[in-house]
Symmetry: C3
Subunit: 213 residues, 3 copies
């Protein structure tokens, strides 16, 4: 995605991306710890949580090289984060960490969704597919994490809007691209709509419409 | 697959494809409901049940775009089906639905297997690989559905011939291609053999040879 | 990988590859039997255990055709092995078999890791990615096996060095490539280091550093 030549926007996006990646990786580590996995499992699940969604999207879109192949610094970063977390984080820190990660996780959901939409639109795919790729980018890291942890994916079973927020944000992103808006506008709108809906959903305790079987 | 210029054969195949896709999606929805998934989970598992097999085959064969990317109408259709099902289907309808879906599911198994064989043969792959791709197309939607639902895949554990029927049908398909038969003959033979074996297996209560460990 | 024109090295590598593939397939069969899977499940899980790691690596690296597509003899071999095993192996043989398979499995871990490193280096990928691809080749057959069997992957949860040995072996492989060593040297070094570490770990009962949560 070409951002305008405004350095602070680059910097902001970079900072947000790092924060989101850390949040996704930490959710993987904590999930692995709850399954009593060993150090290898913790690192793999952290990596899958952080990069699984984008990697699955690139597999489906047949794009190479993956983000983490182009920027191996991220892989080293995840490894260092795993070592640091395993040295210093204890059971009693899990809940506070998860609470502190809610915001970067939410921003990451929107940001990754926008990146997924952008990747699909750049290939000229239809809007629905672009939105699906956005949702996959934002959500399937967590899904693959839960599959490796042998659990029903949380994104499919906790009855709170998560993927749905990214779905809405993705459509806003796609819609804004119809106009002659500057490049960063759809990205920002996607992050704001996804994040705003997610915050609203958590704050007002919204539930997904249930299937009363 | 080029079918002859007989419009009713096109129509028949189209109708069967729709019926099979609905049956596969419904099996996904019911599996998700049994895991008490939310609306997002129901839609995703329905989608994976319907298109997961063909998508995995295309990933393995490196074919793009996927069927559902070329025909986004199917994605919209699955979404509409999910909404309708969640509004009107209740627990007491699950068993009758599953019984009513046995036939379209069986036809779908054979039809999807034939499509998978065709995709692999078009790339000049060996017969064994083509038959494997047929089985993957017909069976792995259900396997991925069960993995997402955190269950041992039914196709691997219910001791009744399912994948094996598609395996037999796939070999018949491959064999018929050696002759100067019209294009639709192998497809039809695959559907008939797969479906016939499956119906026989259910009717006579055949069991797969067990491993008496 | 071009090996020197020394026929016995080709033969040795071929024999080791067969032994490793058999070990990986047997681990899949035994895992499937423990889940009371049917004959279809046993064959599929055996196949995934044997070829899942290399197939996932080739998917990630966008390489086709897969090893088992080029050499369908291996697929027939796995099928024959499954039939033979189901006919003649009983519960009481599981533990002795697993013990007998420890050595070929360990050799396979190192050999498959070296093959994965080689595949990535041939594409000019960075060393870290090459080592990751080596680990994936050696380890993810077992991970996918456990996912299909609805279990937490053993490689992530048994607290004994397995993937870590392949990780170390992979780095040795990458390092040796910097020198003007003959082609077979990095391969051999990777197998010896991986295998040696694994044997040491089992013999001295090493545990991975635990996360004391």
């Amino acid at each position: 995605m070409d951002l305008p030549e405004t350095p602070w926007i680059h910097t902001l996006r970079f900072v947000l991306e790092i924060a989101a990646t850390v949040a996704f990786a930490l959710s993987g580590m904590i999930a692995a710890a709850r399954q009593r996995m060993d150090a290898v499992g913790v690192c793999v699940v952290a990596f899958v949580g952080a990069f699984g969604g984008g990697t699955l999207r690139d597999l489906l879109l047949d794009q190479r090289p993956f983000f983490w192949v182009r920027h191996t610094g991220y892989v080293w970063g995840i490894l260092a984060l795993c070592v640091g977390t395993m040295l210093f984080m204890r059971q009693r820190h899990f809940q506070p960490t998860e609470r502190a990660m809610l915001l970067p996780d939410t921003i990451g959901l929107g940001l990754f969704a926008a990146i997924g939409v952008d990747a699909a639109m750049a290939l000229g795919l239809p809007p629905l597919i672009a939105v699906m790729m956005g949702v996959i980018t934002g959500v399937f890291g967590g899904v693959l994490r839960d599959v490796l942890c042998n659990e029903v994916p949380q994104a499919f079973s906790d009855h709170r809007p998560y993927a749905l927020c990214a779905f809405a944000g993705g459509w806003v992103d796609v819609a804004l691209r119809q106009f002659q808006a500057p490049d960063w506008a759809p990205l920002l709108a996607c992050v704001l709509v996804t994040g705003g809906l997610r915050v609203l959903a958590l704050w007002r305790n919204w539930q997904l419409p249930a299937w009363r079987v």
